[in-house]
Assembly symmetry: D2
Homo-oligomer: 380 residues x 4
């Protein structure tokens, strides 16, 4: 018999759908787990919208105030899928109510807020994780395994970027339900928290902490109509952000994110160069990992494109899916995250990235934004 983990979902947007799909597919593809999610309640201020969402996805009930959701005895875990400026209050309340928490990234509006959240979480001892989902793309998880094995030797370089092009038009408004990511009041920052945070989380996971940074941000379109007022208002987010850094292990880092790179929809790539091996990955073809192995001797050394679909146990998670050659997609990273969260309950271990892990990323984001503001190097 399985042990149900009764989910209370707050939010119903893009991430609400992605997480929910993760919950629903977990028992189908990871039936061996003892803990399994149950869609107990969905919550949002608009009763109509959350009812429609609950009906479509199969949540048993709805709430229109997240405080009520947290107060319910039949909720074991709260999933926070709301704009970043609401994470702190909800997370602290949920932790104090003894609920497990699965929180969308970035963790908080600032490292200061994040630290406060971590302290409550740790005091209450509730199981927690932050949805840095890309760690659980099989090719990325494979990269982690290879790096952990020491096969790369001494690390010299890490570079990553996350390039999009969806805000180039001046006609695009800011704010409101759909475009809160363009409003610093709701989002905290622009691409730094939205896109770079993903790059930083993966980087820290794969290559350790960041020591110091020098950064540059830009807002290309200075004013946009705000959906709340209908008036042209100053754009307060960063449209683009790049930074140089030193990692604590002595390697050099180079990061860039933007929503103004015409032609790139979700070009999240990273590359790591070690003395013995290099790896690179690209979200646009997320089922592949590129590998250069210096130990290949003779005439046939070169970059390999590994199709990470082998089900014979060598490729992470892939024994759960289809047969070699048949790729999975974006949404599978969330299914894997759900499965690992359930597994962490089975095994009574933390589920990375925890709030504390995510705080490390927040600190880098803060240093980056501070450096971009005062044009000096900042320690993390």
């Amino acid at each position: 018999m399985t042990t149900p983990v009764r989910i209370g979902m707050i939010g119903y947007g893009f991430m609400g759908r992605a997480h929910t799909n993760g919950y629903k597919r977990c028992p189908d593809f990871f039936p061996e787990l003892e803990h399994q999610p149950v869609l107990k309640a969905a919550c949002a201020r608009s009763k109509d919208k959350i009812q429609a969402f609950a009906d479509q996805w199969g949540y048993e009930s709805i709430e229109t105030d997240w405080r009520n959701l947290i107060a319910r005895d039949d909720i074991d875990a709260v999933d926070i899928c709301v704009p970043n400026n609401l994470h702190k209050e909800i997370a602290i309340a949920a932790a104090e109510a003894g609920k497990m928490i699965l929180c969308e990234k970035p963790l908080a509006m600032s490292a200061e807020d994040g630290e406060e959240m971590c302290q409550v979480i740790e005091k209450t001892g509730v199981q927690n994780t932050v949805w840095y989902n890309y760690r659980r793309v099989p090719a990325v998880t494979l990269a982690k395994e290879i790096i952990e094995s020491g096969a790369l030797g001494r690390i010299f370089h890490y570079r990553a970027n996350f390039l999009q092009d969806w805000t180039i038009s001046e006609e695009l408004p800011q704010g409101g339900e759909a475009l809160w990511r363009l409003d610093a009041d709701a989002a905290g920052s622009g691409v730094t928290g939205d896109l770079l945070a993903h790059c930083i989380d993966t980087a820290i996971w794969l290559n350790g902490t960041v020591a110091d940074v020098t950064a540059m941000t830009e807002t290309f379109i200075k004013e946009r109509v705000h959906q709340a007022t209908g008036e042209k208002t100053k754009v307060t987010i960063d449209d683009a952000c790049s930074f140089l850094c030193h990692f604590s292990n002595g390697s050099l880092g180079l990061f860039e994110s933007t929503r103004y790179a015409r032609g790139h929809k979700a070009l999240y790539t990273f590359e790591i160069n070690g003395s013995e091996m290099s790896l690179r990955w690209d979200l646009h073809d997320l089922h592949r990992l590129e590998v250069f192995d210096h130990k290949d001797e003779g005439a046939l050394r070169g970059w390999k494109s590994v199709h990470v679909t082998d089900h014979s146990g060598v490729h992470p998670y892939m024994d759960k899916w289809w047969v070699p050659g048949l790729q999975v997609g974006y949404e599978h990273s969330f299914v894997h995250h759900v499965a690992d969260f359930m597994k962490s309950l089975d095994e009574k271990t933390p589920c990375a990235p925890t709030f504390r892990d995510a705080l490390e990323t927040q600190k880098v984001c803060d240093a980056v934004l501070a450096s971009a503001k005062d044009h000096t190097w900042h320690k993390v």
Copy 2:
């Protein structure tokens, strides 16, 4: 309110899982459809195995004899996921019982059998489809739309292959539950029915019927241990099959399939060359379509790699999923097939490929196998 389509699934193997996942995700991602599948019963001879399958996937009940399943009043549609030599008997019985049928490919052991099945199906008038799932990979559906628009001009060439490498080892046995595809008694043929049939179905869909063929088959490993007897037995399937052909529209075709192409796991590719445009696709990166448009003038003409993930309505099915740049995978082709089957019920239209459509592919397979046997050209 939705109208339930109560599914009776026969089989629980790889395809049983893939189809079931398709049924389960349809209401989540295609909630606008009136008809929606319900997992009513699963059926196989082994009670233990089918019970485990039903428990994992959420079928309400089980049967151990497909005749009983077909006899049930609470089953609307029968899904045939068993070895090819059983398709005919089950399909005819199901049709005569008035059940809708979703049948795995290839349709039958021969075109003669297929014709008989079609006649019963058409006489009874039950809704029917055959799971040539690759038609509903978004990039493949997009290819169809472009070809239908006439943008390619006069067609000169069509080429396709399906290359795998999983039977190279001489140690691999034949027959039994897992390896019935290596046993001609159960499968009818080897790669011709298993792999080439996919290539042919897509080809006919995109480029029209095939007029005549000359073919070559080979069995590289002549004897393998049979799992039924534990003894070395002659291998009766084709390990590799290739053929040349003329399409009815005057274009030339070239097809190849094998399970002995080291390095290829599921290299299903097709390419079509028209006077104005060429298209090509590869299952290994199924979310991309390669396009060469001769109308691009000047210095910037070249092959484009279209990442078929745009959700703004221009890429088939993709408005149902995530945001631009985020790819879907293999299993989505089955979700789309289920959704289109439900939609065909909403709209009271046939759901392609029907048994009659699939029979056309069967005829080409038969001509190919006959040509390989007598070394002459065969008309289809």
Copy 3:
């Protein structure tokens, strides 16, 4: 001191330029060779044209009748760069005059003619080679070395194609100086002799002789204006040709060539699948070789893209050029062919492919054209 090899060039077209460039660069990049070419004389019927050619490229003198060229005492080697229907007469005369011969491919108008040429060549004992230049693209030569080492294991499949798109327009005329390749009287055949012959030569070199074939040809544009008459005349060449075959080593072959594959300019590719390793190559990126090595164990198996530019001695010819990462191009294959011809004189060995080697390709072409005509399998 070097020993001069005084070249008499017959022809001044595309191949005349490519060969001449090969002669001129040999002493610069292969200075260690004792024999070195000297541009002694160029020959063509048009005095003005051949004088201009000689002036541009630095030939010391000209002739307007190839018989005079062959008669000259100061010519050591004759390079035959004229339409295919003239190869036989010139080659036989040159051999009988004791001249070395470097003959453009294909060798002859038929295997019968080729056999006659071989017999004279062998009787006279003159040094000879046929310009199947692609053997000496470094990546192709590397493929040969790997195959020779036995690393591929048992060979199952070989496939090649040569796809172009330059004759799709109906407005293109046939015949004349520039377009003799569209006139069967001058060229013998269409794509079979022009393009497929390259594929066949490489295939035989890499995978051994061809045993039998079944083929299909097509002429898409039935009539074109002939430049000799200005009138619409039946097109007598094959626009497209494909064939299936068995190699003598038991592997299966698949070949295709066409000038109607929109988007492909010179898509000469080959792939060979062995039990242990597969290789593939594409002329469009000729400095790369793709390799799949089944002996790579564990999670990091995949196709490698080897950039064949290492100068440390492991990549054929590349120690003569630049530094790793810096690619060479099409013309280098001819420089290498010249250098190997000179080296064969230094070492008193034959220079492959000899006329006899090229005859084997001619025999396959003849069998292919015969099969396309009578629609039966032909032994080679």
Copy 4:
């Protein structure tokens, strides 16, 4: 009749060979030019080595002191192919002797030196150019033409890198004839002047001047045996250098170079993102240009890989070479540079990049190195 430009070559290393090959092929492939190079004299301190070089490549005479070379009446142009610390003295002397100058990059050891060189050059009025050869790779020249046309719209981003891996071994010594690039006394800097300078020159050419920078350098291997002394000596060059910048047109830049990126031999890439179009290029496949055109409407928008080999006049320089689909290589950039230098003499125009153009790159290099030293932003 052609007008000879009598070349005096100082140096005989890698660049001496590359430039000489450029001179020799110019009349073959650009016969229409009035001015044509003649290999008059080669110069180096070692008589044996320069005699061998002259013999191999066909220089008419040698010198062992560059002052003597410059003093000769039969020398029209001096090619400076010696370590960077000698550029200034030779260039100034050559200019004062009225010789044209073709100088290897980077121009000088510092912008201060470069300014002094420019002033002499401009006072004497001699024809001059600096060998930033990558401008004349056809795909790069094509990028320039497209950008000049305005097709990219407003530019948001420019990023470039030049990654190598040849100095990772600690065993590699520094200094001496072959490895002067690892010795700051001879080279001025490490990867900044050697590799980044190429990226910067192209960037300024394509996207205009750089306004300010923040940079980071690293020396991974701190000590290496010096070939002059045989003793372990502090390494004074930068092994890696990266920087962020603003261009004067408001776009953002990101640059990186290193010799510690395992797997990359000569990964020089650039990408430019405009509101309407993006372009990218990679030296490893230098005959291709990647293009994303936002004006492509509908379902078929994507990145195009343009094979820059069309000879019909639309691709720069390619009408001089072979036929569509047949690629050129690294060395062709030098042939084109020579041809353009000769053409500039025909047309009495400057030949870009001039010393003044190259000084702009030097200024950015100086600002980068200064920023890396004091960890602040520097204006250029």
